[in-house]
């Protein structure tokens, strides 16, 4: 049973279609990237998944059923626009918001201690939220998102405003959630984070799906069939190489349709040059997005 099943959802605001016939599913035990530029419709899609706003048409099922009060407790949600009660202490904020997810006070405090220790936030347990830095508040918000051990965690731009140390900390915790069989939806416009973390992605632009599937497959689909080479010596003509492009410190060899990178490597070795780097060129997600989005805008 998929953790999330979204089927043909549409949402419009005053004659502008924000999400247009979007369908996808998210499996348990995977990190699913919902990516696209700002204004692509990611947050609106998430709000429909969370039943905060209703789709004009289409359906969303969460953990096999329509979202209800009971199933809301199985979800953890870190919205893009997020905050906490400024005057409450860290622990009181966590306990109150955990209680709204059905966690009793004792369990919430126990789990909060564990997560605060894991994130290095335990010394700030009794501090008021207004006394914490922005990064610290984000960590607390993430703790609130997962304190009730949800089956599905939806994270909207979780890294915005975080320093590299805290970013790495959160990445580790996301991976841990996946390893424990949880479904994680990660919405971001930072493609590099997605490449590092996600198993599958949905790329949307102007509310429409433009790419959907396993990240590795997508990258392989958009591979340019070229290799990057750093070497010492004189590079002669290599059979199977259609074009040679010189860049700063390396060359890119574009292969013809019948030659594999392995064959080229064998031929290069036989020419006697010293090879310092040989890498099959794969486009970044950002490049793929620009290619796809550009094609769609033409």
């Amino acid at each position: 049973m998929p953790a999330v099943e979204v089927s043909h959802i549409v949402k419009s605001y005053t004659d502008k279609v924000v999400v247009n016939d979007l369908s996808f599913s998210v499996n348990q035990g995977e990190i699913f990237g919902l990516i696209g530029p700002n204004g692509a419709g990611k947050t609106t899609t998430i709000r429909m998944m969370m039943d905060i706003i209703k789709p004009d048409s289409g359906e969303v099922t969460i953990l096999g059923e329509k979202l209800s009060e009971a199933s809301k407790n199985k979800l953890g949600y870190l919205p893009e626009e997020r905050g906490l009660y400024r005057k409450l202490t860290t622990i009181d904020s966590i306990i109150y918001l955990a209680a709204l997810k059905g966690v009793d006070r004792h369990s919430a405090e126990e789990k909060a201690d564990e997560l605060l220790t894991q994130t290095g936030m335990l010394p700030h347990k009794r501090k008021k939220i207004e006394e914490l830095s922005r990064g610290m508040k984000q960590i607390i918000q993430f703790i609130v998102t997962i304190i009730h051990n949800p089956e599905l965690v939806i994270l909207d731009e979780p890294f915005s405003g975080l320093d590299p140390v805290n970013t790495e900390l959160l990445k580790g915790m996301f991976a841990d959630l996946r390893n424990r069989g949880k479904a994680v939806v990660l919405s971001t416009h930072q493609m590099n984070e997605v490449e590092e973390l996600c198993d599958r992605i949905l790329m949307i632009d102007h509310g429409r799906s433009v790419l959907y599937g396993r990240l590795a497959e997508i990258k392989s689909r958009y591979r340019s069939n070229s290799v990057l080479l750093e070497f010492e010596g004189k590079l002669e003509e290599v059979p199977g190489v259609r074009e040679k492009r010189t860049h700063q410190g390396y060359v890119e060899l574009v292969l013809d349709g019948n030659t594999t990178p392995g064959q080229v490597l064998e031929r290069l070795v036989s020419t006697g040059i010293v090879i310092n780097r040989f890498e099959v060129a794969t486009p970044s997600l950002n490049e793929i997005f620009l290619k796809v989005a550009g094609r769609n805008h033409e």
Binding site: P79, E81, R82, L97
Partner: protein
């Protein structure tokens, strides 16, 4: 515990811990106790000594020789003004007055004192008046009649019911005091409760907490919990006042007496007062939540909400008209209109009372308004609470509500 109860509990504690709430709740008992204390301090300092005061007089008209003891004041006769002045200088007397030869035709009495004073002390005036009238009437009427002439009237009025029985509610100006104070406090409370709701929702909206809350609870649970929590805080406030009013009144009337001992609490007032207080609290809390839902900022929300809170204070502007025409149909209409009903009904309860049908009608309208308001506000919250930094126009709101 269900989620509405959790929000209720959270809001309740958050409200009663507010400094403004604590100050307003304790203001009535604390100020009243201070008033009683200050009265005792001031009266203790300025209270005239129990010893007899001596006042001199010079009788140039003749015939004013008797009745020289008037309560604590003893009147001492002098033959000449000079002798009286000398006694005054030597502090043998406190003051003196001269009864001129033409007193009977002019009524003029000349008074001399070494103290600066704003008005003639009431005790001195009464003593001199009674001394003069008693001497003028002596030998002409019996002494008992003289006493009646000096204090001719002690009017006791009893209101009867249609069947001729003594009415439970005797009316009178003293009946107005407690309802007046209560309605004034209610008006303050309504303004404060509106502010609490606006600030609470405003904070959750401005600090971007709203979306986190809505991922756990429905808008209906959120708004019901908030309004009921703030309503319960209002109940605490009114309970403090309802308990303290009779206690303070009893303390004030036993220790100060006079006018205070005549103050009455109209029958059923406390029960009705509590009911209107809670309903008023809830209706303004719902209204403020609706305003918060469509306002871009807390400040903007307070501006809009102040238009509605005018209804709560408006009965005070028309107080003299309500007093002069308590039965006017205008007040009947506004006693049923939910925003003005709480304060207006309480004011009218202290005047001629409010017929039962009007009380029932106004309560039913208020309860329906609260329930309908909650449903409407939940819808508004769902539609607008995630829109930051802009306020929708009235036409758009109506269109969105219609389209559901």
């Amino acid at each position: 515990m269900n989620k509405t109860s959790l929000i209720f509990k959270h809001e309740f504690w958050r409200t009663i811990k507010r400094v403004g709430f604590i100050i307003l709740t304790l203001s009535l008992p604390v100020l009243a106790l201070l008033g009683i204390g200050v009265f005792h301090i001031v009266s203790g300092i300025t209270k005239p000594p129990a010893e007899v005061t001596r006042i001199g007089y010079v009788d140039e008209a003749g015939g004013f020789e008797q009745f020289t003891t008037q309560g604590n004041i003893t009147l001492v006769r002098f033959d000449t003004p000079e002798a009286a002045t000398q006694a005054l200088i030597q502090k043998d007397i406190k003051e003196y007055f001269v009864i001129p030869p033409d007193f009977i035709s002019t009524g003029v009495i000349k008074r001399y004192t070494m103290q600066k004073e704003l008005v003639l002390p009431e005790a001195t005036k009464t003593a001199i008046t009674n001394f003069l009238s008693s001497n003028l009437l002596a030998e002409k009427v019996p002494p008992s009649v003289i006493g009646r002439i000096e204090a001719p009237l002690n009017l006791v009025t009893t209101t009867l019911t249609a069947s001729g029985a003594v009415a439970a509610e005797q009316g009178g100006l003293t009946n107005l005091i407690i309802p007046g104070i209560f309605s004034l406090l209610l008006a303050f409370s309504l303004i404060f409760s509106s502010t609490y709701v606006l600030q609470g929702l405003g904070e959750e909206r401005e600090s971007r907490l709203m979306e986190i809350l809505l991922s756990s609870v429905s808008t209906r649970q959120l708004i019901s919990g908030k309004v009921l929590g703030i309503g319960a805080a209002g109940l605490v406030q009114v309970v403090v006042w309802v308990i303290s009013i009779p206690l303070l009144l009893s303390l004030a009337s036993s220790s100060i007496g006079g006018f205070l001992s005549t103050i009455q609490i109209p029958p059923h007032f406390l029960v009705l007062g509590v009911a209107y207080f809670i309903l008023g609290y809830l209706i303004f809390a719902v209204l403020s939540a609706g305003v918060a839902a469509i306002s871009a900022t807390v400040q903007e929300g307070q501006g809009i909400a102040s238009i509605f809170t005018l209804f709560a204070v408006a009965p005070f502007w028309f107080y003299s008209l309500i007093f002069a025409f308590p039965d006017s149909p205008v007040w009947v209409v506004f006693s049923i209109f939910p925003f003005s009903a709480p304060v207006l009904v309480m004011l009218r309860l202290g005047m001629l009372g409010v017929p039962a049908w009007q009380l029932i009608a106004s309560m039913v309208v208020m309860v329906l308004s609260i329930v309908g308001g909650l449903l409407l506000v939940a819808k508004l919250l769902r539609t607008y609470l995630l829109m930051y930094g802009k306020r929708p126009g009235l036409r758009l709101i109506v269109r969105n509500l219609r389209s559901g």
